[in-house]
Every structure is written in structure tokens, then in C-alpha cells.
């Protein structure tokens, strides 16, 4: 997994709340192999019309070419557990999403793919959205070591679970960590089945 330490980002303000994973990638694209790249499916139906025409959504504006971070309102990534939502963000080039709250499953999926879900206060989200709108170049710097976001002359704190922070900083893979506990897993299984044999399917 790629490490995340510090991101000097062109950032796109999406003033949307409740951006669910059905919007991040509509279901009809999920049977496609990842090898094709999922970036063009990101927020597809907000970006493209029935004939594939570009609708002028913020992400496609010339001003936001090369965006690597997005800023949204509350409850980003709510809904379906589809990790494809993270694949779409990642393949598009997004490495960080800044919002006041995230769907739990989305946040977990994000970290497992090296994408940072940075939680800010609702007031700070509004300030960052306004700063990006007003800035000549919509740029911000996200520093995972210090848990700060710098935008223009201002700096904002953000939060992330301490373990997830370390995983991102180190690029840790869960499976490598789990393999260290192989004996404990086997012992647990034997104990559990002995104590409650009914847990095994009939």
C-alpha cells in the first residue's frame, strides 16, 4: 500500500452533503474489471449526461484539472459498502477527502487503499470550502504527521483514528499484521468450538 505522509494538493470544493457511494460509482459500472481503471466512473451521473456529454460538474472545470483532494459536507461515503467507490476516487487521482463526517465502511475502505479520510469540524469545512472558492489557485496542504490542513494563510486541525493514521503513514497491510497471530487464531478456534459446538453450521 502507498504511504501517505503529506499531500500538496489541488483541491476541489464539492459543497454536497450525503455524497453516497451509489453516486461515487453507480452500480452499473461495478461489473467492470479494475484493470480498466475506475476513474472515469467517479461521480459519473453528476458529471455526464445521457449521451456522455460533460455537464460542467466542478471536478471537470479547467480550474480543477489535476485535483488530488476533495472537500465535502457531512456524511461523505454513506451507503453501500462498495470499495469500488474508493477505487473510483483513487483511479481519478484523489488521495484525500476532507469532510465533517464519513460513512464508517467508506472510511475503513479508504484507509485500506491508502486514501486519507480527513475529518474536520463542520465550521472548518465551511471555511475551507469558502477559501477554495475564493482562491486563485485552489490549493491546500494536508499533513498527516501534524494532523493539519493549510489553506492560504490559515491552518485547520483534522482528525483520524490513531491506528488508521499509523497504517497510512507506514503503508501497513492488515494481512501481514494478522499473520503474526496465526497460533492465537488456531487456539481461539479450538476453544470456541469446544465451548459452543453449535456455532458450526448444522
Amino acid at each position: 500500500m502507498e504511504r501517505f505522509t503529506r499531500l500538496d494538493a489541488l483541491a476541489c470544493p464539492l459543497g454536497l452533503a450525503n455524497v453516497d457511494t451509489d453516486q461515487l460509482i453507480p452500480a452499473r459500472f461495478m461489473s467492470r474489471p479494475r484493470s480498466e481503471g475506475y476513474g472515469r466512473f467517479l461521480l459519473h451521473d453528476l458529471r455526464f449526461g445521457p449521451e456522455g456529454e460533460v455537464l460542467g460538474f466542478a471536478l471537470d472545470a479547467p480550474r480543477h484539472a489535476g485535483t488530488t483532494a476533495i472537500v465535502a459536507r457531512r456524511n461523505f461515503g454513506t451507503g453501500s459498502s462498495r470499495e469500488a467507490a474508493v477505487y473510483a476516487l483513487w483511479d481519478f487521482g484523489i488521495r484525500c477527502v476532507i469532510a465533517p463526517s464519513f460513512g464508517d465502511i467508506f472510511a475503513s475502505n479508504a484507509v485500506k487503499n491508502g486514501l486519507l479520510p480527513a475529518q474536520v469540524s463542520p465550521d472548518d469545512a465551511e471555511s475551507i470550502l469558502a477559501l477554495l472558492d475564493a482562491a486563485e489557485v485552489p490549493r491546500l496542504v494536508v499533513d498527516l504527521e501534524s494532523l493539519r490542513i493549510a489553506a492560504g494563510s490559515r491552518s485547520f486541525p483534522f482528525a483520524i483514528d490513531a491506528v488508521r493514521r499509523l497504517q497510512l503513514l507506514n503503508g501497513w497491510d492488515d494481512l501481514d499484521l494478522t499473520r503474526r497471530h496465526i497460533d492465537e487464531i488456531a487456539a481461539y478456534r479450538a476453544r470456541r468450538v469446544a465451548e459452543a459446538p453449535w456455532i458450526l453450521p448444522g
Binding site: 459543497g15 452499473r28 445521457p50 451507503g79 470499495e83 464508517d104 491506528v163 494478522t178 487464531i185
Partner: protein, 466 residues
């Protein structure tokens, strides 16, 4: 130990293999359900050339992409490929598959409890957010992403940080004609679509005890729409009666021993919750959603919001965008909203009790709009046909189809057309959920049936005797 524990605490504690210094725990997984959409995870397993850790605890269910008509033929090769890939993975890795032609096939969150695979006190995961459903049996059940699915396939474990504990006590009794779906929508509109985020939710109170197993499954199913990590109901006589004799549940003496253990799965009287909320079931009226989030629910006799009356500009903009997408006028009466079609189905509301409730409204009546009825499982379908419910739906003019996720998510091609409005028993009214530019109104099966009869959103209490 010795300390008072909640139901969630007890199930959590019994699954901890190790807890790291940083607070993350490695948990044992008792049941892992996979479906066609799990292909990303199997690719991760293949990339590491790993075998499944516990094929005997892994169960495949074909539901997301299966056709609901003319089985087993699948016209679209891309969709057929998804169903075939699951079969191939089941054969190669040696786990039981409830496949397209299996008489026990159905939607994973209907099949698990129905087969007796989901039991009280188990830890259940699936790469699907509505896995929260299984918590209705007193299980700790939650949806996971593809990387976690791959981790469970390879290790039968999962790293988790213990969520906070939240209880929602619902006292009083639901009015006649109301159901668990109204309870669920009431909870979500009260606490918000992220109101239970980061929390393990337990439902308690007399309105919960009074619910059937089907009703509890509906309520826990929708809890992910309030952002809950999982939802649980303590197992009781209703749970035990539901499970006794299920094909893959413990049988005979093993069941008696299991039930004795399950009786201990209740929150201790003095157990503490991080949040505790009390609601009154008697205050609830039939609810429908008007917007693009399940929290956008209102009593059927209400009017849709008017952004002009909203002081917060961000909120006003949200309301206006939702109204525009839904094709509604600010302040209009919900009962004046006409619908183009109805859908009765999904892991939320397609169990036998749901079909009975819808049929009881439709009996002797004609639907004013087309509609699709897709039972929650092939077993539910067979039972409904034994009870003659299929005839009631057909005679009303609705289509009676096979079981799958169908028009809830549209992956199999059962779609609501662009700009069309659908009264639906499903769980998500997100933009584009039922099809590109489709407009979804969520409500109970009885309310969907009432909308089918009149062709508009309808207070079923006014329809009675009509």
C-alpha cells in the same frame, strides 16, 4: 468481568482473539457470506495464491445480479459473467453456494436467517452494508469492503476497534397498519442518516419485543441508513421459535444447549450505553421519503419542505437540489405526488410478512400503475404461492417475479426509468439508486400497495374500506 455488560459487549468479548496495545482487536468471524459483487476480493486472494481459511464457514449467495425472470437464462453477457464467476469461485474454493438454480436461493440477508445460518451471538460479515440485518437475531453483523472480505477469506478474522454503544428504546405500540419500516424511517429521520455513526446500536423496549422476527430484520436492516456500525435485538422467545427447525440451525439437543446459551445474551440491567434514546411507537404515523436520503422522511399527511423557509443557506441548497432531482414543488402535499410504478422487494421488505401486508391491501383491488413484486427468497416465493398471495398480486396487475436484489439496486437490469417515480419497499432513495435519474420514495409494503392502487402517495389509513 463482573462488570455490567451490554448485549454488544458480550458478543464482542466472546470474539476477541487478541487486542493490540493500540486498541485494535482481532475478531473471529463465525459466518462469512459472499455474493457476485465479491469478485474484487477473490482477485485479491488469487493475487496472493492463498486458499480460504474456513470454506465451511463461508457461504455464497447469488442475489445482486440474478435475473428475476426467465431463469436460468441471462441475456446480458456482462451480468452472466458476474453470476458465473461466483459459481466458479465457490467450486474452486469449496464453499457452499446458494446459486441461481438452488431452491434455497434468495437475497443473502433473507437466506442467512431463513436457513438458520445466522444465530444469536455469532459474528456475521458480508461485503454488503445491509449485513446489519442479521443483528435482529442477536448476532454482531456488519458490512465490510472488498479488502476486508479478502482478509476474512484468507484468515476468518478481522481487525476492528470496538465501537461505542448506543441504545434506542421504543415504548408503546404501533398503530394498526404500521410496521417495522415506519419505525425504521422514524428512527432515521429523528437521529439523521449519520446519527448512529460509529455506534453499535441495540433496540429495546416493548415496541421491539412486539415485533415479529421479520419486523426486527427490517428494522436492523435499515439501521445502516442511520449510519450504525451494527444493530442488534436481544434474542427472545420470538427468535428461538423462528430458528427451531431451520435447515442449518443446530438440531435437537444441540439446539436446546444453544438456546440455553442464547438466553444469556441480553444487556445486564445496569449496563451502560454511551448514548441512550427513548422513542414512542404510538406517536408514529405512516412515513414516506420525499428526497434523496433516507433521513428525508415525513408523515404521509405532510408537505414537502420549502427551501425558502430554511434559515441555513447550505441546508436550503440541499433541499432545493433534492426537490429538483425528485421533480417536486416546494411545499406541495405528499399525497398529491403521483407515481409511475411500484416495487415490492429487497432485503428490507420482501419476507413473507411483508408480502402478506401488501397483499392484504391489494386483495380485490386493481393497481393503477405497473409494478414488480420480487420475493426475498425462493422459499418465500414458494410459501407465498402456497398462500395464494401471487394470485392477489397478479390479479391486481402487478408482475410476480423470482427472488434477487432486483430493482433495489438495478444491477440485474431491473431498473426504474430516467425521470420515473417509484414507490418502493427498499432501503435507499439515493440519486440513481434504482436507475439513472430514477426517483425513489421509500415506504412500507402496505404503503407501496396503497400507492399502487391510487397511483399516488397514499395514506393507507384513508384507503381502508375504500
Amino acid at each position: 468481568m463482573g462488570q455490567a455488560r451490554t448485549l454488544f459487549d458480550k458478543v464482542w468479548d466472546s470474539h476477541v482473539i487478541v487486542t493490540r496495545e493500540d486498541g485494535e482487536s482481532l475478531l473471529w468471524v463465525d459466518r462469512h457470506f459472499v455474493h457476485e459483487g465479491s469478485h474484487h476480493a477473490f482477485r485479491q486472494v488469487d493475487a496472493r495464491s492463498m486458499a480460504l481459511a474456513e470454506p465451511g464457514l463461508t457461504f455464497g449467495v447469488a442475489d445482486h445480479y440474478v435475473p428475476t425472470r426467465n431463469r436460468p437464462a441471462i441475456g446480458n453477457p456482462e451480468i452472466a459473467g458476474m453470476v458465473e464467476r461466483l459459481s466458479a469461485n465457490a467450486a474452486r474454493h469449496g464453499f457452499r453456494l446458494f446459486g441461481l438454480e438452488d431452491p434455497d436461493q434468495g437475497i443473502v440477508h433473507v437466506v442467512g436467517p431463513e436457513q438458520g445460518l445466522t444465530l444469536p451471538g455469532l459474528l456475521v460479515v458480508c461485503g454488503d452494508s445491509h449485513t446489519s440485518t442479521h443483528g435482529a437475531m442477536g448476532a454482531y453483523a456488519f458490512g465490510i469492503g472488498a479488502s476486508e472480505v479478502a482478509h476474512v477469506l484468507m484468515t476468518q478474522t478481522l481487525w476492528q476497534r470496538k465501537p461505542k454503544r448506543m441504545r434506542i428504546r421504543i415504548g408503546g405500540a404501533l398503530a394498526p397498519g404500521l410496521s417495522a419500516k415506519d419505525l425504521a424511517l422514524h428512527v432515521i429521520r429523528t437521529i439523521g442518516a449519520d446519527g448512529a455513526r460509529g455506534h453499535a446500536l441495540e433496540y429495546a423496549g416493548e415496541a421491539i419485543s412486539a415485533l415479529s422476527m421479520e419486523g426486527r430484520l427490517t428494522l436492523c436492516n435499515m439501521s445502516i441508513e442511520a449510519g450504525a456500525r451494527c444493530a442488534m435485538v436481544a434474542p427472545d422467545a420470538v427468535t428461538f421459535a423462528y430458528l427451531r427447525g431451520r435447515p442449518l440451525a443446530p438440531q435437537g439437543e444441540a439446539f436446546e444447549r444453544a438456546e440455553a446459551a442464547w438466553r444469556g445474551l441480553a444487556s445486564d440491567p445496569d449496563a451502560e450505553f454511551d448514548r441512550d434514546i427513548a422513542l414512542d411507537a404510538a406517536a408514529i404515523v405512516p412515513l414516506v421519503t420525499w428526497g434523496v436520503s433516507p433521513e428525508d422522511a415525513l408523515p404521509i399527511d405532510a408537505r414537502v419542505p420549502d427551501p425558502a423557509e430554511e434559515a441555513d443557506p447550505a441546508r436550503a441548497a440541499y433541499l432545493q437540489q433534492a426537490l429538483d432531482y425528485m421533480g417536486l414543488k416546494a411545499g406541495m402535499r405528499l399525497e398529491d405526488v403521483t407515481v409511475d410504478r411500484v416495487f415490492i422487494g429487497s432485503c428490507t421488505n420482501a419476507r413473507i410478512e411483508d408480502l402478506r401486508a401488501a397483499a392484504s391491501v391489494l386483495i380485490g383491488r386493481k393497481a393503477a400503475v405497473p409494478g414488480l413484486v420480487s420475493p426475498g427468497s425462493s422459499r418465500v416465493k414458494a410459501q407465498a404461492e402456497r398462500e395464494g398471495l401471487d394470485r392477489i398480486f397478479r390479479e391486481a396487475g402487478l408482475e410476480w417475479a423470482d427472488s434477487g436484489c432486483s430493482m433495489c439496486v438495478g444491477m440485474n437490469g431491473d431498473l426504474v426509468g430516467a425521470g420515473e417515480r417509484c414507490a418502493s419497499t427498499t432501503n435507499r432513495n439515493f440519486r440513481g439508486r434504482q436507475g439513472k435519474d430514477a426517483r425513489t420514495h421509500l415506504m412500507s409494503p402496505a404503503m407501496v400497495a396503497a400507492a399502487a392502487v391510487t397511483g399516488r402517495l397514499t395514506d393507507l389509513r384513508k384507503l381502508a374500506g375504500g
